[in-house]
Symmetry: D2
């Protein structure tokens, strides 16, 4: 039955997260222990400790790994609140790519792999990276172009190739490596995912890219695999099923981006609203100028539409469906609508908007990539068009 | 608990309505018994009979008046399906203004008034009009400017004034009359609603306006009240509470517009999709041109967002809330997004789009007014801005 | 040298045209001698007579055929003014398709053809049609799909095929016929244009389409050619060069659409401005509401941008260039921007906007096709993209 | 007579500037002598020297001060080319605020002031600041709120107040100070502009703001005036005419922003075009995907519209008109359209777009402020609406 009511447990958790963010995160937003990529490890550890103390750590992970075992709807509620502060997702350990990696490991990894790789990430001790995207001419929007190769050599796989825009690589302890795989006979058996410690010989961060955003500890890097040798038990799931597992990770990971950005955009909207309430121009508060008020109204409507689309997609995922269409719609719509919300909020702030007086400026810079990663808008439109046409 | 599943009863009703529309309404869309305003009374009676036979008549009305007693969520589901054909709402007896008038009478009228006025409308026998809007300088977006006056004279009220854009006036049997009211002492006691037969002396349809739309039997008219004398039992509810009752009618009526237009826009989208699948240009089907496919994708996303916003607002109404903010958001968003959907659908059809080969052209003309009536977009943005600012 | 000043002669002509439109055309706009397609022949003759008396008839045609011999910039100035009234283009004899047909004949036809076909059109006595577009599966946006065939038979050509959306066919006296041509050996020698009286045996208007617009006398029709036999001297220019001549017609004809619609949209904007000045809402004139004022400001900017783009393209044409890129840009931008201007103007008028109280409603209906004919926006975007990419 | 042809001299200058930018500026764009605000003084001096060698220095300034004495149309042509590189405007000495300050001084300053203040700026030796904007509650979009005061004290003026977002303050040698002025009797005599060396006692840069852009050497600062004492000959023009002079500076300065940003956005478009030509996705170059090509087409059209609007406004200024309406239209349209061009260009680049691999990312960050400074879009819409309404 169509219902938009939160359960009492969800309401309690939402309010508790909101209070945690308000009381513990927002006051720390100007903590100097942040570099051009995000919080340093020292600050991150402190944030994680605070979330653990508030019983909010890794809420998306099963209780056996220290989380709260939230379903997708539960995540929608909590992640939005966490995203309200630039630091919230790091505290709750729900930032990309770790959040998606934990989800993937929880669904696909075997028991040993979970102990070795999932547990330290879920506890907030370790960070991880997901190495799929490649530089020009390799796997990007079109994953079929993947050039990185894993060649079976006895019981091992030897991996060579270059990845780029690998989020969080610098400082990560765990790596998920995606490579086109060739068996002992040299036959292409499809893409495979491998699990490894990130300091394995043959993995090198060759360049940390200078990017517009600053909400990814470790930044986005170029990674070279040079004769990275991994034993057979490094394979995540089964050989040749890498793209299928990528789908397992993809739709939910897309959606959690939407959730966090919804919170971040709502924050910008609230800041702009407060500014418009108090700042005078031409004889009355900004908020009484329709030119400003209409922007706030549009923000309200688009934030609302985003939330509904996220909730709906989360519900579809909770029914056990892959939600490919729904997550494409949510990602496409949220990335574009929330960008508009942040842009309007900045515009309302006037000159203040382009300074670091508020988090709006940082959010503006950070959110730009959202229309690109996890499938640029154009790829989602193309994919949705195919859904429409095939009916 | 957040849930988007229909109940089995809702699913059955949705499917039954869809089948009714597909099998009984769409084939009749070219029935010549339609004039520049919509179906003639003869055709309308036939449509109503068909819906009654399918047990789909007046589904929003309580069972004691022959309806199905649907709640707002139920209406959302059924009305969307009905709107899929230009004739569906007339068959189900859920077109404006009758649908909103029935809702108002059901909530506010006394037992006698219900027998006399609601029952014939609910049965599909009679049409009704709601006379609130006035020409330039009178009540429009700003109802406080109402000029029509009712003056108490003994036990009667004598009403004078001019209304315009009164939908369905020509041929209506029931009128709801809104007037600024003065008691026997000449004191302004606020706006009052009155109920009367439409052929009462003193009510005259002085002009049927030539308008762009053609989905309102009787069209939109100018009405003159000249010494219209109504007894005290004509008062709907209480004297002086007219604007409060207008609110009772307003939010749900707005929302049912959204529901019907959602169906109509989905129809246009389906027509455009089918055209894009089959029509070739530059060596491949139109649908394989991204420039067309992207428009279909945007349609899909916006139809989805509209449906979610409607369902959410319906749920709020079902909780007993007035849903003023939610219905403003839904009306603003749906009127603009669905207009875009229809516009894109027409564009995809190319030259065919501007002909009467499909219902897209009529829908394009009909939907334009939706951004104006029940509060133009600007008034909703202004009202929502106030909500945002007061927090 | 960059210059935006009109010459004294241009200024005089502009002002004279504006005065003619204001004094002679606008007062006639409600003349009942108009049907669902536009002015009847009786009214049209009267309008033409008025323009002739004002020395404004066929200003784009050479003086030897009774025109003013304006260059493209001169046309830009005069046609905008003429477009300010729905009747102006008919009076000046510059409406589509006649205007473009006259241009084509002036450039390509031989002396005999000019006497026989151009002179009566230029004098306003005869109307003409241009038969290129075909129904589904034939020549539309992609002219290479043309199915109508002309087969050489002795000295004659025998033409068979179906055209549709042929503007002005009903009542036209002259027809330009475009057909894929096969020589006596049955070899496809490319598309050819033929000139003929429209009442030649073998030309039949089989259906007058019911379309959204009403600014084309005779409407838009389906035309069947059944063994239409034309002698060799019917060939316009040379055999096989039909598409090249279509280009001759295309860019200027596109641009004159922009000119006329610029005037029409400016008219709507002026009507909305006047309404906003005088109509009160919420305690002040509409115009003092930023939500309305901002729309007027956007109108002003877009009208300005359209005019500049038209003037620029006209200048390029006047340099002897085909202006394919410039006319694509102008057509794409003007059709979309002017549609927005008209839409905003209608929105500002509120309920009045959808009635026939002003010409805004008719303009809204008429202008919709402008984003489709002479290349829909998507085809222009595709063509411009190719220009960009090839550099 | 409407003409869009460049004179031979303009063509030569345009081509020479383009060659200079291509050969001398673009190769230097990664010069490490740039900080978070822009080129260091060392690099800037080198750029200026290069422009002087190319005879392109300060082209907007009169020849008596070493410039080329270009009119506004000439500036439009040269500044667009200079803006094509992030370094071009610094080399040609046409960056804000110096360019506008030079223009102001040339028009208003007396001979002594020109020698002392204009000459060193025009030669590229000195930088300058224009101190008008104030922090919250002071002069911003609404200059009437100015709080900084100059009080006459004998022959001197003593100035107190706080300014903010003062571009280039750090390192500037010349300051133009705007203050509400009170004469010896304490009467408010209106705003006045004063000229002074920037190291005068009583001027302090109290904070260099951390802003999103990085194209203003010295950044944007908070400036405190504390008993800044200036002699009477410091007055620029006349006492009390500060706002009038601000208008002298405003329209042309707005327009030169448009010119430079046009070049910058065209650069981004060219980078995106080149990327789209070469990068493959889904089996063909990006450029052959309509979803990408259509964005390039829209870029082309909007760049064209911006150029025309700039040229037109420049021509109006060259006629001696203040061009308030035209410069508002140009600023509003260019700031919004060019932002879209840069945004689309970044989107086409995908992940590369958010890295420093191209200047698109920096341009995206830098251009955001353009919709805010020199009047945010909302103020221009409001001002244009007033023009429309008063007719």
């Amino acid at each position: 039955m169509i219902d938009f009511a939160l359960t009492p447990a969800e309401t309690e958790l939402r309010d508790r997260t909101a209070a945690f963010v308000r009381d513990e995160m927002i006051p720390r937003e100007r903590d100097p222990r942040q570099d051009e990529h995000g919080p340093t490890e020292e600050l991150r550890a402190e944030l994680v400790a605070a979330a653990r103390a508030a019983n909010l750590l890794s809420p998306h992970v099963g209780t056996e790994y220290g989380g709260l075992g939230l379903d997708h709807r539960g995540k929608a509620i909590v992640f939005e609140e966490a995203g309200y502060s630039t630091l919230g997702p790091f505290a709750l350990n729900i930032a990309a790519p770790d959040e998606g990696n934990m989800h993937l490991l929880e669904v696909v990894a075997d028991a040993d792999q979970k102990e070795r790789f999932l547990r330290p990430i879920a506890s907030g001790a370790a960070r991880s990276m997901f190495t799929m995207t490649e530089p020009d001419g390799g796997a990007g929007s079109d994953p079929s172009m993947m050039k990185t190769e894993a060649r079976q050599d006895g019981d091992d796989y030897v991996i060579n190739g270059r990845k780029w825009l690998i989020t969080g690589a610098l400082g990560a302890e765990v790596a998920i490596v995606m490579a086109r795989t060739f068996d002992a006979d040299g036959t292409d058996v499809g893409a495979t995912m491998f699990l490894t410690e990130a300091d394995a010989p043959g993995i090198e961060v060759t360049e940390v890219l200078d990017t517009m955003d600053s909400n990814a500890p470790g930044g986005h890097s170029v990674i070279d695999f040079e004769d990275l040798r991994l034993p057979a038990n490094s394979v995540l799931g089964e050989v040749g099923r890498g793209f299928r597992y990528a789908q397992v990770r993809l739709a939910p990971a897309r959606l959690t981006h939407c959730m966090r950005w919804l919170g971040a955009a709502r924050r910008c909207h609230d800041i702009a609203t407060e500014y418009a309430r108090t700042r005078q121009a031409f004889g009355k508060p900004l908020s009484e100028h329709e030119g400003v008020g209409f922007q706030l109204a549009d923000n309200l409507v688009e934030l609302h539409a985003c939330r509904l689309m996220i909730w709906h997609c989360a519900w579809v995922l909770d029914q056990g469906d892959q939600a490919r269409t729904e997550s494409s719609m949510a990602k496409l719509y949220c990335s574009e609508a929330l960008s508009r919300v942040v842009d309007r909020s900045l515009q309302i702030l006037g000159g203040t908007g382009i300074t670091d007086r508020t988090v709006v400026r940082k959010t503006y810079e950070d959110i730009r990539a959202f229309r690109i990663y996890d499938g640029p808008s154009e790829v989602h439109r193309w994919s949705l068009a195919r859904q429409v046409v095939k009916g």
